[in-house]
Symmetry: C2
């Protein structure tokens, strides 16, 4: 089953302690698509400027089930982000953000995408996220992401959006900011009371929680020996998570747990190289191997004689 | 089988956002003993001053297998620590430390403790930790803890100690400081190259890693809705870990993993009340329930058709 994603398609310039990359493929929609398309067909809706290296994007996705029919070409500069990481790779320092054509982005969902059973509303204005939901038939699962900027500037719209999504992914700082609760269990409960059945709280290198009612699942981030560039890890997590749900079509708790692990696995690959390089070169055996490594990482047998 | 612990027996004064406690039972040896004695007999070696409320300590341990024969009474004031936590309960702010009689502590292991099969060298001068090892017969497993102060002031002794222990527990900041490696996988490998077969890196509310050669196990901290007072969580973790190993006498990888979970479980109880209050009131059913909750928290089944 396909997964529809609405998100940014950007050009990133990144410096890490291990190297730098200039004007490489980036943006939430791009990372999501690169990760999710390992598992399911992806329908990408976004906007690029007249300066975007569309050939590079098409080449990267040429061997992948990513439908670019919803990728709008607008006159003007593309969304560009420049950032830096020091040794604490959990903390991005934004040096420059130029929204370009993204600042006037009004997502238009192509007719052939409107019945997508799985929908991911990437981190854009909650008014636009709500507008997208008005353009699609009732999906089996709608998830959204958000960020501090929208929590500050569009709180009422964001809270309204929560009434229309099944799941939200956000990081721990955002969850605390949105709910004014420091404790993440309480923060998740606050969010679920506004609508979502599931809340995924991402803690970067410290892993991710999924809250579903009183049920809690936790997956660590994979302890890699070299993290090269953390950019896109969260979007790749979302792509792996939604891609796995779309591939299996199974919304049971057991399968949602597996989806979190697939998300963590794709996130762990994303950070091994710049941009989507690593996500594009891996295949099913790499993903299965990483999921098995996650299983070994956390598995213990209870001592039932204890 | 008994576990021998050498550590501090102190009086703590703690302020948290939820309340305060003055001159309550604290210290690494005390928390360790309260946790470990849920699972195995404990032999405590430490020192208290003439002002210590020994009756309180004896009452707390009266129903527990904690042998206080190694608790020396010295003339002078007891070790006192005063600290505060703000909303980020992962960060203790030390307001006052008075070492008192602890500054002249020279552990003397009673004859009847010298064959202890499990030995935990709490956070004291590495020269004293080495001296303790000279006083005991070859144990089945020796573990040690340390802290930033010893890493700075006693590095050569600490590195020497690493050649004589099977396992070390330390937190992420200490691991980075000791090894000059930011990446915890590399830090653990650095430490293992100095001697220990196992390295447990505690990340507070973000859980704990156990590294054993190329094998890695991770257990999250339990996502409690209310953390009341984090003081002693790490020592209670060590107590649960060593207590479980002492109870089972099994050093297989599967059992070491369970020991990490028992450590995490005891650590999670420790933070629910001030001092050792919660550790003392719980029983085997509470611990088994928490271990089962840990299992539900992290368990997922691999999709072998994937």
């Amino acid at each position: 089953m396909p997964v529809l994603v609405v998100g940014s398609v950007a050009l990133d310039s990144v410096e890490t302690p291990f190297g730098k990359a200039d004007n490489v493929l980036g943006g939430s929609g791009t990372f999501f698509s690169a990760a999710a398309s390992q598992l399911a067909p992806v329908q990408l809706v976004g906007v690029i400027g007249s300066d975007y290296p569309i050939d590079d994007l098409e080449r990267v996705f040429s061997s992948r089930p990513v439908d670019l029919a919803g990728l709008e070409r607008a006159d003007g500069p593309s969304f560009r982000w420049r950032g830096r990481y020091r040794h604490d790779l959990n903390m991005a320092e934004t040096l420059e953000t130029h929204l370009g054509v993204f600042s006037n982005f009004r997502p238009k969902i192509p007719a052939q995408f409107r019945n997508a059973p799985f929908v991911f509303l990437g981190n854009i204005d909650p008014r636009l996220q709500l507008d997208v939901l008005g353009q699609v038939a009732k999906p089996r699962l709608v998830a959204c992401d958000t960020m501090n900027f929208w929590i500050e500037s569009r709180r009422p719209d964001l809270v309204k959006l929560l009434g229309h999504v099944d799941l939200i992914t956000l990081n721990d700082a955002e969850a605390r900011q949105l709910t004014d609760e420091f404790n993440l269990v309480k923060a998740a409960r606050w969010i679920m009371a506004k609508g979502p059945k599931h809340v995924v709280i991402k803690k970067g290198e410290h892993g991710a929680f999924m809250f579903s009612g009183s049920n809690i699942f936790f997956a660590p981030a994979y302890p890699l020996e070299s993290v090269f560039d953390p950019t896109g890890a969260g979007d790749s997590f979302a792509g792996g998570f939604m891609g796995y749900l779309a591939r299996t079509g199974d919304l049971s708790d057991a399968n949602l747990r597996r989806a979190v692990v697939y998300g963590s696995a794709l996130g762990s690959f994303a950070v091994e190289k710049f941009s989507v390089e690593r996500l594009i070169e891996i295949g099913p055996a790499d993903i299965a191997g990483r999921v098995a490594a996650f299983h070994r990482l956390v598995t213990f047998e209870q001592d039932l004689n204890a």
